[in-house]
């Protein structure tokens, strides 16, 4: 065990488990909203966030879990950055607007393209179908089909249907993240 690993282990012991998340996905999927929900809980914020220009980082503590989120801008001009920032992440979080059927194809292609890069091999993928409260929102099976998640090999894939607006299922996501972080630690130890 090198010095770096030891330091991380020690930090985990003192501060609780850590996890680096990279939030990616198409524009207007709800990445920044999800980051806010993680940070301050659901539904308190009146105005919708502005489109992210570039990226934003934030550090969140929930239930002894330290989450470092990199919230990436979704517009096409920033997609080149995704790879760069996903490389360091422990979990890639793909947020998708589950009510937006028209964007499904674009989302699938973008996801494929991103995951195809070498630097991201093996990093677990967490797919969040946001806006489940809207009418016409697709369920998990439809999302899995639409994004072609079954074809993804070589990494752990998990899919949740959530609503950032109402806070639906966010706890489930957090539970999964905590479990994942623990598992990671055990694996390292």
């Amino acid at each position: 065990m090198g010095w770096k690993d030891f330091a991380e282990w020690w930090r985990c012991l003192v501060f609780g488990p850590e996890l680096d998340l990279a939030l990616i996905g198409l524009q207007n999927a709800g990445k920044t909203s999800f980051a806010r929900v993680l940070a301050c809980g659901a539904g308190d914020d009146g105005d919708a966030p502005r489109p992210t220009v570039g990226f934003e980082t934030s550090v969140v503590r929930r239930r002894r879990l330290r989450l470092r989120c990199v919230d990436m801008g979704g517009s096409a001009r920033f997609r080149a950055l995704w790879e760069r920032h996903c490389e360091d992440a422990h979990v890639i979080v793909w947020v998708i607007d589950s009510a937006d059927a028209a964007g499904a194809m674009e989302a699938r292609d973008a996801l494929r393209e991103t995951l195809a890069s070498e630097g991201l091999a093996g990093i677990p993928l967490l797919v969040l179908g946001n806006k489940s409260d809207l009418p016409g929102a697709r369920g998990i099976p439809q999302l899995v089909d639409a994004l072609g998640l079954r074809d993804i090999a070589g990494r752990e894939v998990r899919c949740f249907s959530i609503s950032c607006k109402l806070g639906t299922n966010v706890d489930a996501v957090l539970r999964w993240l905590t479990k994942h972080a623990r598992k990671r630690r055990q694996r390292r130890a």
Partner: protein
């Protein structure tokens, strides 16, 4: 390079052994630092190490190392990852490096959201820095988004945040002034901040926002002059703005008092020295300042003179130096203080003190001063010495009686060590004194001839030798200079020897007594190594021998002919290759012709070289050519020469497809005579293996056929290669009609190819033609400026019934000056009585223009310009002319432009 490194590391070792500090950045290299920058990408950031690397990058960039685009992009992207760290020191470095290496607008945009988050964070340090960086990289679209936050930040409780927003406002003013102008109420609020820094920045920004509104500035200044500001720097700004306002407003004629002068005077009693000095400086620089107004300022500056702080002494003496130029009498009290400053340790202060004393000094105190200066001269730098010498020159011109002592001083310093600039200043100074003070001539010449005995600068030696040749023969004992001059012939380099020969010859020709001796010396020069020296010696020998024994006449300057006409006629002579010999009288004739029009006289003399590239010279040259042609003599003097820019034809025409670049160059110049107009076409052939003969330009009026009737066409025999030949077309103008025309032009010529084997042109040529651009003739061509000193008088003599008035809209303009320039450019008339100068920030203005219409008819114009809201300019044009149709023409000209 390797040696350098070894040496530097050795040096470093030595230094560290001695326990001295050395830069931690000693010998760092860009490549290595870029390698180190990879630590930004590690998943566990080492904040301290990252800071160090960024510091190194910043150091390199400040030292002038530039990063390639790829390097900058790579660094930038890895730096963006550092936003994940919450280490505040590291974050500061991140801000700095982003500002330093923002790679391109496209990429830099990706930190926008991160910065916007920081801008609204709770940590003040983040906020202020993020504001600065964000404003640095933002574009107009984003600015709208962040404006709200910036506005809040201006009035933030925290001084650094507020200051950062205000300074960013300064920067944004250049990019997007409209947005910043909307902040004025917030900035006004920041002005009353308790923090001096914020106050200073707020005042600066507020003034820049209101800059263009004179009334608002005046109001702002009035308000601020009543209640002193907390920050002394801001107070200084107020003083400067007051100075600006004073400059723009007039002195109250009744009381003779200036507005705000009381305020300036009260600032002289401020507790901060900076403010005191600023106020004093402004008072000194007031227009037409009176002695009474100066007195309080001089008094405080005098106190500064004896201050213990060198910076205050320097500032004070520098300000007093300015006073000494215009009002030496008002500062006699300071002389004692200044004399003690000559021995000041700071040499800049001492030099300023001396030059100031030299300016204020009385005739009686000069001797004492010079003594002090001579001891002082040895231990100052050359550039200071130059200043002193210049001051002495002024002094000597002021007190010519003292030339002996001053000249002695100059010759002493001339003998001492010194660089070229310094020596040149001294020599120039002596030359100037010799020329302006007759009594000093002999002494000056003696000093100079001693100087060239041991002078290392060729330029100065030849200059001195020339002067000796010019002035030496007329002195009482010219013989003594000959030795000095001839010594140069023996000892110096070729350039100096040649000048010395000329100088000698001057002596020989002017003084009969010396002629025999000079001839002997010149004879010896015939064996010189250098061609030029030998040539000059031989030339002067033969000239001197032709002068009768008793005659004493200076060697005549062989170049009595003005260069430009001489060259023009020589060219023409070569062109024609006539049988007769070249006749110099022709040039004199041309010259006299030109001399009869005084304004053209000057232009002909100035034109020393035929520089085709410059339009002005082009015109003069063309004018010279026209005046030298007999054909146009009958037309009278030229009224105006103009080259219409669009008529400068640069035609490209592929004659032979195998040639890569074939072109004829044709430029046209219009010469306006009283009743005629002559188009002068300058044609040049750039194709080597063909000859163009019988070249002419056929003009065909498209418009204005009723006004202009063709008189003659003068073709050009051969179009020379690479040089300009002339062909002319002349028209007669019908009187009283609107002289506007458009001419279609065709270049016609006979082309003969050169046989490559013999180099001779083939006997048979073929006719060819080439279409040129059209020529426009406008009314402006027939107008010239005629500056009048008494516009009103002439205006009243012109018949009022010929007055024509019209209103025009000139559209949106940046300033009145720009609008005026455009109108004057169209009319081509001269502004009178300085009315072309527009007061800064003026909203309305009247300009008086005067000119002649061809035939010597006066035309006067009054232009009333006014700037409305949204910068739209309206113009009222009042024209009076001798003939009503001329006034109409002016209006048509303006309305059609």
């Amino acid at each position: 390079m390797a040696d350098g490194h070894a040496e530097s590391s050795k040096k470093r070792d030595e230094e560290s052994e001695e326990g001295l500090d050395f830069s931690p950045f000693w010998g760092i290299e860009k490549g290595a630092v870029l390698q180190e920058a990879r630590c930004f990408n590690e998943s566990q950031l080492d904040a301290r190490r990252c800071q160090q690397v960024i510091t190194k990058l910043l150091y390199l960039s400040n030292q002038g190392d530039s990063f390639t685009k790829v390097e900058a992009t790579e660094v930038f992207f890895s730096v963006t990852k550092l936003f994940q760290s919450s280490d505040s020191n590291l974050r500061r470095m991140v801000y700095l490096i982003i500002k330093e290496i923002c790679p391109s607008a496209d990429e830099v945009i990706i930190v926008t959201s991160s910065l916007m988050k920081d801008m609204n964070s709770k940590i003040d340090l983040y906020r202020s820095n993020a504001i600065r960086v964000l404003c640095n990289i933002t574009d107009a679209g984003l600015l709208g988004q962040i404006e709200r936050y910036l506005k809040q930040a201006v009035v933030d409780k925290n001084a650094t945040v507020s200051s950062a927003a205000l300074v960013s406002g300064h920067h944004l003013l250049q990019v997007n002034s409209e947005i910043v102008k909307r902040w004025s109420s917030e900035v006004q609020e920041a002005l009353s901040s308790k923090n001096p820094l914020v106050q200073y920045h707020a005042l600066g920004l507020l003034h820049r926002i209101k800059q263009n509104d004179r009334l608002a500035v005046s109001k702002l200044v009035t308000q601020l002059s009543r209640s002193p500001l907390r920050s002394s720097l801001a107070q200084c700004l107020v003083i400067r703005y007051v100075a600006q306002v004073i400059k723009d407003t007039k002195v109250d004629e009744v009381t003779g008092e200036r507005p705000f002068f009381d305020f300036l005077e009260s600032c002289l009693r401020h507790k901060s020295e900076t403010v005191i000095f600023e106020a004093a400086r402004v008072i000194i620089e007031l227009n037409e300042v009176t002695t009474r107004e100066l007195q309080p300022a001089v008094t405080v500056l005098q106190l500064f003179l004896s201050s213990s702080k060198p910076i205050l002494r320097f500032a004070a003496i520098r300000a007093l130096n300015k006073v000494a130029m215009n009002n030496p009498s008002s500062m006699t009290n300071c002389n004692i203080d200044m004399e003690s400053m000559i021995s000041d340790q700071n040499r800049s202060i001492a030099t300023l003190a001396i030059t100031t004393l030299l300016k204020t000094g009385k005739e009686s105190s000069i001797d004492r001063l010079m003594k002090q200066i001579s001891t002082f001269m040895t231990d100052i730098q050359d550039e200071f010495k130059v200043v002193v010498v210049e001051a002495i020159q002024e002094l000597c011109l002021k007190f010519p009686h003292k030339h002996r002592i001053l000249m002695n001083f100059l010759s002493n310093v001339l003998r001492e060590e010194g660089g070229f600039e310094y020596k040149k200043t001294i020599v120039d100074c002596i030359l100037c004194l010799v020329k302006s003070i007759p009594d000093a001539t002999e002494a000056g010449l003696t000093h100079l001839s001693e100087f060239i005995e041991d002078c290392e600068f060729t330029y100065l030696s030849s200059q001195v030798l020339h002067l000796l040749g010019e002035l030496g023969p007329s002195t009482a004992d010219p013989g003594k200079y000959i030795r000095y001059i001839y010594n140069r012939v023996i000892l110096e380099n070729a350039t100096i020897r040649a000048s010395a020969v000329c100088a000698l010859a001057n002596f020989g020709s002017c003084s009969v007594a010396l002629r025999a001796r000079v001839l002997t010396l010149l004879q010896r020069c015939l064996y010189d190594n250098d061609d030029e020296v030998r040539d000059r010696a031989a030339f002067f020998l033969s000239v001197l021998r032709t002068i009768p024994e008793t005659d004493s006449e200076c060697v005549e300057d062989p170049l009595i002919y003005p260069l430009a006409p001489l060259e023009a006629s020589l060219r023409q002579y070569l062109e024609n290759t006539g049988d007769s010999a070249f006749d110099l009288a022709v040039i004199n004739q041309i010259h006299n012709n030109i001399a009869s029009h005084p304004d053209m006289h000057a232009s002909a003399f100035d034109c020393s070289s035929m520089n085709i590239s410059s339009t002005k010279n082009d015109l003069r040259e063309s004018e010279n050519i026209i005046t030298s042609r007999g054909e146009f003599m009958s037309y009278g003097p030229i009224f105006k020469v103009s080259s219409y820019s669009s008529s400068v034809v640069n035609s490209c025409h592929a004659v032979d497809l195998t040639e890569a670049e074939t072109e004829y160059k044709v430029t046209c110049t219009k010469h306006i005579f009283k009743e005629h107009i002559v188009f002068h076409f300058m044609c040049s052939n750039t194709i080597e293996d063909q000859i163009l003969e019988n070249v002419s330009v056929v003009t065909d009026p498209i418009e204005g056929i009723e006004v202009f009737a063709k008189v003659s066409t003068i073709p050009l025999g051969t179009m020379p290669l690479g040089q300009f030949g002339s062909t002319f077309v002349s028209y007669k103008r019908a009187q009283g009609l609107h002289p506007v025309a458009k001419m279609a032009c065709t270049l016609k010529f006979t082309s003969k190819e050169i046989d490559p084997s013999s180099g001779e042109p083939e006997s048979e040529g073929y006719e060819d033609e080439y279409t040129l651009e059209d020529i426009d003739v406008t009314v402006t061509d027939f107008l010239t400026g005629n500056p009048l000193s008494a516009f009103r008088k002439v205006w009243d003599t012109l018949p009022i019934e010929n007055e024509k008035v019209g209103d025009y809209s000139l559209g949106t303009r940046d300033s009145l000056g720009e609008a005026l320039e455009a109108v004057v450019g169209i009319l081509g008339m001269a502004a009178c009585e300085g009315s072309e100068v527009i007061a800064p920030h003026a909203r309305s203005h009247t300009t008086l223009l005067s000119g002649f219409f061809v035939g010597g008819h006066s035309v006067l114009v009054q232009l009333n310009l006014g700037m409305g809201p949204s910068n739209s300019v309206a113009m009222k044009l009042i024209v009076r002319a001798e003939k009503p149709y001329i006034a109409d023409m002016i209006h048509t000209l303006v309305s059609e432009a």
